[in-house]
């Protein structure tokens, strides 16, 4: 794994609100609402674009690059767009990679209206805070227990043992905290769903489980053409937290209901 200079990184805390956007077209009954299927999207948000191919008799198609969904609209022999919202919905649902990312619903009635070219719309709504780190350390350990079976005293077969939750801890001095929308909760608020974070939703799939958040380390090296690296520690449950708001320090340990973080490499320009 690449070494991350935590001073160049931002630690983000996300709640479990599903990102969504409505692509609002001019014609009646042509608006569609796109909602993320996953609670664990983080900074590399899903986006949707409607493209006018500007050629005659083009077919409706859907292309997916990472989390960017592009809908190439169908046209008539006179190069006019002919795709209705209902057709766009069907095309997205028929595309496995697009369908894995979003749920599409009609924002008006049955989607009979013809859509138009639309610039990038991002699925926003997930609540989050960004913690700009001054000094500190972030550690995690994923475990892979194995069972070694012997045959008459000699090592023989190996089996995987039960999964173990990943341990995560960080101890840092932060310079500032920002929130994408609404008020700015403190680190402790975000972990405890209180104060400015009272409306945050859990990232756990089972609502009966204790409240959890997603932790993300966003490493933007800012050198040359290197991509940003994103590590997401999904469904994190804190077990010990100490936070000094006046000094700007936070020390947290806990575990994730996952065996390892998810990692992504994304061009910096793709992070909205």
């Amino acid at each position: 794994m690449a070494q991350i200079d935590i001073k160049e990184a931002t630690i983000k805390i996300f709640d479990g609100t599903l990102g969504a956007t409505t692509v609002d077209c001019t014609n009646a009954d042509s608006d569609l609402t796109f909602t993320s299927k996953s609670k664990h999207i983080g900074s590399d948000k899903i986006s949707i674009t409607y493209v006018d191919p500007a050629t005659a008799s083009a077919a409706l198609s859907v292309a997916v690059d990472g989390r960017e969904i592009t809908v190439n609209l169908a046209t008539s022999t006179a190069s006019a767009i002919t795709s209705t919202a209902a057709e766009v919905k069907t095309a997205i649902e028929a595309s496995s990679p697009a369908n894995a990312l979003v749920t599409v619903t009609f924002a008006e009635t049955v989607g009979a209206g013809i859509v138009e070219a639309k610039t990038v719309a991002t699925l926003n709504g997930q609540l989050s805070i960004d913690i700009k780190v001054g000094e500190g350390n972030f550690t995690y350990s994923d475990k892979k227990p194995r069972i070694f079976t012997r045959d008459r005293g000699s090592l023989d077969t190996v089996k995987n043992d039960d999964d173990e939750p990943m341990d995560v801890s960080f101890d840092l001095i932060w310079e500032w905290i920002t929130a994408e929308t609404g008020g700015t909760p403190t680190v402790e608020d975000a972990f405890k769903k209180r104060g400015e974070a009272a409306a945050w939703l859990t990232t756990a799939d089972d609502a009966c489980q204790p409240y959890s958040i997603d932790l993300e380390i966003h490493n933007a090296p800012g050198c040359g053409t290197a991509d940003d690296e994103i590590l997401i520690f999904e469904e994190f449950y804190y077990e010990d937290i100490s936070h000094d708001l006046s000094e700007g320090t936070a020390s947290v340990t806990g575990r994730c209901n996952r065996v390892e973080p998810t990692t992504r490499r994304v061009a910096a320009a793709d992070i909205p």
């Binding site: 001019t26 905290i177 909205p272």
Partner: protein, 152 residues
Amino acid sequence: MKYKGKKVEGRNTEIIAIPRPDGNIVFIAEAVPNWEQFEKLAPVPSPPEKLLPGGRKEPNYQDKKYLEEISKYGQLRTDWLVLTSLRATKELEWETVDYSKPETWPNYREELKESNFTDIEINLIINGVANANSLNEDMIEAAKKDFLAGRE
């Protein structure tokens, strides 16, 4: 209000004629009296706040999303001014612009291009809007000189 004994009425207008073989296209740009409607539809983006150690909060003017919004806001102001000024052209209808939806305002440029207006013609229209709204410094200077010449 009266000026030289005459009631001051009407707004500054500018006529922009674009020659076409099948009939000239004449745009009328009228000065926009105020920005009230614009401000209602497209409020100035406000920066998010950042929380500093000690619990102090201050605006985060360096926020990437805020900087993008401010840049878009500047363009929207121009688009709104052009569209609102050109509403004085009674014969003009935009097909993809909805005056109540700011996200549709930039579409007028595409519509002009689709209607085969050249970049130079589009600039003429925008300059006409600027002139109607007294945004042309040369014209203001000329008016000032004209006034001063009358006093001599």
